[in-house]
Every structure is written in structure tokens, then in C-alpha cells.
């Protein structure tokens, strides 16, 4: 039987779509920039100081953990029991059946995709919007005032930053806001912040090279490749995309020794430089919002409550609760954070919970929570060690 030529469109259309889907991403690599050495790219990156831009950042984390379905795995009874046993301050940590809370959000950050829109103008105006499904969390900084707004819970936090003449103090104040934002799972790290952190890790233990020129978010970019040359590191390499014009890091990808796909990728999906609509930085909480005023003295208490940092790779170790006195052992890629004990406010129930218990594996001398980029060891004596290093290295440090 002859097949009618009327079937041609049915083959041609999917073929065109398939070719397009393959060819378009390839185009991103068809970029040729003047050659620069790794050091020249570093200089380009460090001199860049873009102040006004708007863009959308996409974060993808694939830490190799089993995906957690809180809504289906936590039964109503379990929730009721947890509610009863937990201290009041920890009400937020009780997994509600649909509701997302700090804990689910913290876990979400280590496995999932997030979209954040960022608008900045000058040095003192910023708006970051985390685009959640059917909801949004906002951080608005305008001069010495800041707002944090959560649309789902209809809550807002309002505070002021002391405008200090001393830039060091100013920086400290800004860090305080970022810490506070992080403590309520409002993660606003941009590719820039992560790139700065990674570059600070370089030391003598890394190789630097320049990869292929490519395009990110419609901009041409150099690729800077950082490869730790210590065997014990969990990090295979990190790839930084540096805008060829402004030196701004546009994308950071961190690869783990354990998996092929990037364990973490944070990059702009779109970006435009230049003035931003100023009305975005004025915020008035809508009627019906529960507004609390930020009290700087609360910050310490809050950080004390903060139950450990899942994304420790991105954070400064000084973020850890002071009361627990973390200790940094080793340096650069082999840094290990040691806590004398689990922060006292992590409910032991939670650790015994099947959900979390399953995430740990038993090793000689303790239990290990293993992710693509961070290993956490809880020794039998209750000490906590964590770092972006192999389990063997953690165990040898623990001895």
C-alpha cells in the first residue's frame, strides 16, 4: 500500500520542533570573545560594579536527596503529636499537611527549582521577589528602611537599617538583613554572592582555567572554571559565567564528584541593565497584613534558633549560632565546621522520625547525612561535623 503524502505534515512538524529544541540551546555556545587569561577574567570580575539592573534568577538544586513529599508522608496524627511535643516557638516546624513552612522550604532549597526576580537601583535600593507557585515572598530595601512580605501568610516585617557613615558597619547592617531573611527561608543569594564566596575559596588548592565563551541571558560571557585539586573535596569543579562587558557573574554552576548533573546552578535567565521603575521600591503593606517591627536584638535570638544551615556552602560559618560555638577545622576547600552538639532546639523527635532517619546512613562512629555537596556527620557522642568533603575525610577530622 502506498502511504499518502498527506501524512508528510505529521512527520515534518514534530521533526522541525525536535530540530529547534536541539539547535536553539547550541546557539548559546556560538560566541567568540577576545581571549583572556584566567587572571584577566578574575580582574574583569572584580572591577565590575553594576548598580542598577533588573533580572530573573533561576536556581536549580539537585543535591541527590530523595525528593520529599511532606504532604503525603506526614500523617495527620503525626502532625498532631508533633504539635503537642514541640515548644511553642517551633510551631512553624510542624509540617502542616499542605502548608509550606520554614522546614519544608529549607529542604526545598536543597532539591528544587526556584525563580527570583531582582531589581536594584543605586547602592541602597533593592527588591527581591521569590516567585512561589500562587504566592510570593518579597524583600524591599529602600534607603534605610526595609520590608519583608509574605503573600501566603499575609505577614510583613518592617525595620530600619542605621545608615552608618562607616562602610564596614553599613555592610554589617546589610548582612544582618540578609541573615534575617535567610532565617525565614528567604534566600536571596545572587550568582554574584556565590561567585564571590567561591573565589574566596581559591587559595593554593585550586586550578583556574578559562572555558568556552558562551551566552547567558542574552549576554556574552567568559567561563571561569575552578577545580579544587584536593582529593577529599566533594566539589568536582565550579563554572562561573562572567559577563564580558560588565564583569558581573551571570551564572554559577557547582558540580559534585558524585553526579553528572550540576548539584547547584544559580543564574540569570534574563537581565537588563539601566534604570529601574522607582515605584517598585515603595512598599505599603496591604490591608489585612499582620505587620511586625524588626527589633535588631531579636536577630541574635533568631539566629540562635536557626537550626543549622543546609546550604552551608554558600554561607559564612559565622552565621552559625554563637551559643553553639562552631569551630572551623581546615581551610579552603577542606573546611569542616564542628559543633560540640546538635543545636539544642532541634527536636530529637525529628531525628527519630522515619522521614529524617531514612536520610541518614550509619557509619562506624556515627550517622551521616550525605548530599551531593555537603556531608554532615553526627558522631555517637553527639558532635556534629559538616563540610563539602568526603565522609572519610569527615571521619578522619572527627578523630
Amino acid at each position: 500500500m502506498r502511504i499518502s503524502k498527506k501524512w508528510i505534515p505529521s512527520i515534518a512538524v514534530p521533526a522541525v520542533i525536535a530540530v529547534g529544541a536541539v539547535a536553539l540551546p547550541l546557539q548559546a555556545n556560538a560566541v567568540d570573545l577576545p581571549d583572556l587569561s584566567a587572571n584577566e577574567v578574575m580582574v574583569l570580575m572584580q572591577q565590575g560594579e553594576v548598580q542598577s539592573f533588573s533580572g530573573t534568577i533561576v536556581k536549580v538544586s539537585d543535591m541527590g536527596l530523595p525528593a520529599l513529599e511532606f504532604s503525603s508522608m506526614v500523617s495527620e496524627d503525626m502532625v498532631a503529636e508533633m504539635e503537642e511535643k514541640m515548644p511553642e516557638e517551633f510551631a512553624d516546624f510542624v509540617p502542616a499537611v499542605i502548608e509550606s513552612n520554614t522546614l519544608t522550604q529549607a529542604l526545598e532549597l536543597i532539591s528544587g527549582t526556584h525563580k527570583v526576580r531582582i531589581y536594584t537601583s543605586g547602592v541602597d535600593k533593592l527588591r527581591a521577589q521569590i516567585l512561589d507557585p500562587m504566592a510570593q515572598r518579597d524583600l524591599i530595601v529602600n534607603g534605610d528602611e526595609f520590608w519583608i512580605y509574605d503573600s501566603q501568610m499575609a505577614t510583613a516585617v518592617n525595620g530600619t537599617i542605621e545608615m552608618e557613615a562607616d562602610p564596614a558597619k553599613q555592610e554589617e547592617a546589610e548582612k544582618a538583613i540578609a541573615d534575617y531573611a535567610a532565617s525565614i527561608a528567604l534566600d536571596i543569594n545572587s550568582p554574584e554572592a556565590i561567585a564571590d564566596y567561591l573565589v574566596s575559596m581559591i587559595g593554593d588548592t585550586s586550578n583556574l582555567s578559562v572555558g568556552t565563551d558562551h551566552s547567558v541571558a542574552g549576554r556574552t560571557a567568559y567561563e571561569l572554571i575552578l577545580t579544587p585539586n584536593v582529593e577529599e573535596s566533594l566539589i568536582e569543579q565550579a563554572k562561573l559565567s562572567i559577563d564580558s562587558e560588565t564583569g558581573m557573574p551571570l551564572k554559577v554552576e557547582v558540580f559534585s564528584t558524585n553526579q553528572v548533573d550540576a548539584a547547584m546552578s544559580v543564574g540569570f535567565e534574563s537581565i537588563s541593565f539601566g534604570e529601574v521603575d522607582q515605584s517598585l521600591f515603595d512598599f505599603t503593606p496591604p490591608a489585612g497584613t499582620e505587620v511586625t517591627t524588626f527589633d535588631p536584638s531579636e536577630l541574635e535570638a533568631l539566629l540562635g534558633d536557626y537550626e543549622g544551615d543546609y546550604e552551608s556552602l554558600e554561607k559564612d560559618p559565622s552565621d552559625y549560632p554563637e551559643m553553639n560555638q562552631p569551630e572551623i577545622l581546615g581551610s579552603d576547600w577542606l573546611s569542616v565546621v564542628r559543633l560540640a552538639a546538635l543545636p539544642s532546639d532541634i527536636p530529637t523527635d525529628l531525628m527519630a522520625n522515619e522521614l529524617f532517619g531514612d536520610m541518614f546512613t550509619e557509619v562506624a562512629g556515627g550517622r551521616v547525612l550525605s548530599t551531593a555537596l555537603v556531608n554532615v556527620l553526627i558522631t555517637d557522642s553527639g558532635e556534629v561535623y559538616m563540610g563539602a568533603v568526603t565522609i572519610e575525610h569527615l571521619l578522619s577530622v572527627a578523630k
Partner: protein, 276 residues
């Protein structure tokens, strides 16, 4: 010229047939009932929902009636809206075939391609009517039962009444665009059979399958290719500044589905022996 006026009159007669059918009006009435029942339920229960409780937007309905339309759209999207859409899409060719009218349609000098295009556009018009019915019924019942005022967007910014109405129209249009893919799938399935109910059911089943696959994290590579993937992203219209990225991705994806299943429907329908 002749062909053009023929297409036009065919289109008009198709729309006339669709909108004089009692079934079409029954489905639109059922769609309008969703926001009405929702608003009544909220108004008649004294219990106030705390923010964050229940489906998104629901706790805002009592403060601002305009949210009834958004909440109703959200609730109708997973099943009810695709169900009515599948009924219309599955009926296109199979319905004519089962009534024995397809033969007569094709005896008239109407190309099969033209008939398919006219049928498809007819279903898109129904989708447009359905999504706007949902939104407009929501606005009307919401403004009767609750106070209305400036709408608070997800970003916490407030917009005027006029702009709210504009954004509602964009949301309804977004949802219509979301339906174009499933309409094309339904049209193709409808060319495969002479039993309209089978085509309708198959279309609904595919919608369900697509939504289930979209929820399996193991298949994350597949998600952005599923026709239901961007359905709930209409929420991006309710951000300040408006986020049109998902609108564009959604439109492109739906266009792909329309092209693929349109081509399949054409190939199948133009090579088919019409026996009834």
C-alpha cells in the same frame, strides 16, 4: 473570494450550531455555578479562614469579592474546565460522524482541511467563552456578596479597580491559551473514531495523565513539555511588575501542541474513508 466567503459562512454556521445547542449553554451554566457556589459557601460559613489556609486566594475572597473569579479559575482548572473542553473537542468530527452528517458536510464543496480549521476555531471560541464566563460570573457574584476594592497582588502591591479588571481579562485569556493544546489533542482523537464519547473520555484521561506526570519529580526533564505544565502559572499575571515569561512559554508550548496534533488530525482526516 468565493472561498473566503464560503469559509466565513461555514465558520458562522459552525458557531451558530454550537451556541444554539442546549448542551453548550448547560456547560457554560455549570461553569458559572462554580464561582457562585464558592462565593455562597464562603459567605454562609461564619468561619474565617486564616491567611495561608485553604486554596490560594480563598482567604481573600471575603475581603475582596473580585478574588472569587481567580479562586474559581484555580479550582476549575484541574478537572472541570478540561472536562467541558474535552466534550466540545471530542465531539468535533466524531459527533458529525455518529449523527451521519459528516458525509453531507463533505459533499458540499468544503475541503477537509477547511472543515478541520473551522471546527477547531469553533472549539477555541467555546474555550474563550468558558474562561470568561468563569471570571465574569466570579466578579458578579463576588461584588454582590462581598465588598470590592483595589486588588492586592501577590507582591503586596495594590492596583486600581480598572487595572484589576484588565488583569482578570489577561488571566482569562491566559487560561484560554492554556486550553488550545488540549483542544488540538481532542480534535485529533475525534478524527480517529465515530464514537464521540470515546474521544471525549480519551481527551480527559490524557489531561489527567499529563497532570500526574507533571507531579512526579523523577520525570522533571519531561515537565516543561507537558501541555498542563504552565496551567497554574496564570498566577504570574498577579505579580507586580507583571511577569509575562510564563505566558510566552505557555503560548509557545501550546502552539507546538496545536501544530503537532493539527498536522496529525489533518493527515488522518484527509486520508480517512468517510462511511457515515
Amino acid at each position: 473570494m468565493f472561498a473566503k466567503s464560503l469559509s466565513m459562512s461555514l465558520m458562522l454556521s459552525e458557531l451558530r450550531v454550537m451556541f444554539t445547542r442546549r448542551r453548550t449553554w448547560a456547560m457554560l451554566a455549570a461553569i458559572a455555578l462554580i464561582p457562585i457556589l464558592l462565593a455562597l459557601a464562603v459567605a454562609l460559613t461564619a468561619e474565617e479562614l486564616a491567611p495561608g489556609e485553604g486554596p490560594p486566594f480563598l482567604s481573600q475572597v471575603t475581603q475582596n469579592g473580585l478574588f472569587t473569579g481567580f479562586t474559581a479559575t484555580l479550582l476549575a482548572l484541574p478537572l472541570f474546565l478540561p472536562l467541558t473542553i474535552a466534550v466540545v473537542a471530542g465531539d468535533t468530527i466524531a459527533g458529525e460522524a455518529s449523527l451521519g452528517t459528516l458525509r453531507y458536510l463533505l459533499i458540499a464543496p468544503v475541503g477537509r482541511l477547511r472543515l478541520l480549521v473551522v471546527k477547531y476555531i469553533g472549539t477555541v471560541v467555546f474555550a474563550l467563552a468558558a474562561t470568561f464566563t468563569l471570571m465574569i460570573a466570579g466578579i458578579i457574584i463576588g461584588s454582590i456578596l462581598f465588598p470590592i476594592g483595589p486588588v492586592t497582588l501577590l507582591s503586596g502591591d495594590q492596583i486600581s479597580l480598572a487595572e484589576s479588571v484588565w488583569r482578570m481579562a489577561v488571566v482569562a485569556f491566559y487560561t484560554t491559551v492554556s486550553m488550545t493544546g488540549i483542544l488540538a489533542i481532542g480534535l485529533f482523537i475525534s478524527t480517529l473514531t465515530t464514537v464521540p464519547v470515546g474521544a471525549m473520555a480519551a481527551t480527559v484521561v490524557l489531561t489527567g495523565v499529563s497532570q500526574i506526570l507533571d507531579n512526579l519529580p523523577q520525570l522533571s526533564w519531561l515537565h516543561e513539555w507537558l501541555f498542563t505544565h504552565y496551567w497554574l502559572d496564570f498566577a504570574d499575571i498577579l505579580r507586580q511588575p507583571i511577569e509575562l515569561g510564563s505566558f510566552a512559554s505557555n503560548a509557545l508550548l501550546q502552539l507546538g501542541y496545536v501544530a503537532v496534533f493539527g498536522a496529525l488530525a489533518y493527515s488522518r482526516f484527509s486520508t480517512k474513508d468517510i462511511l457515515s
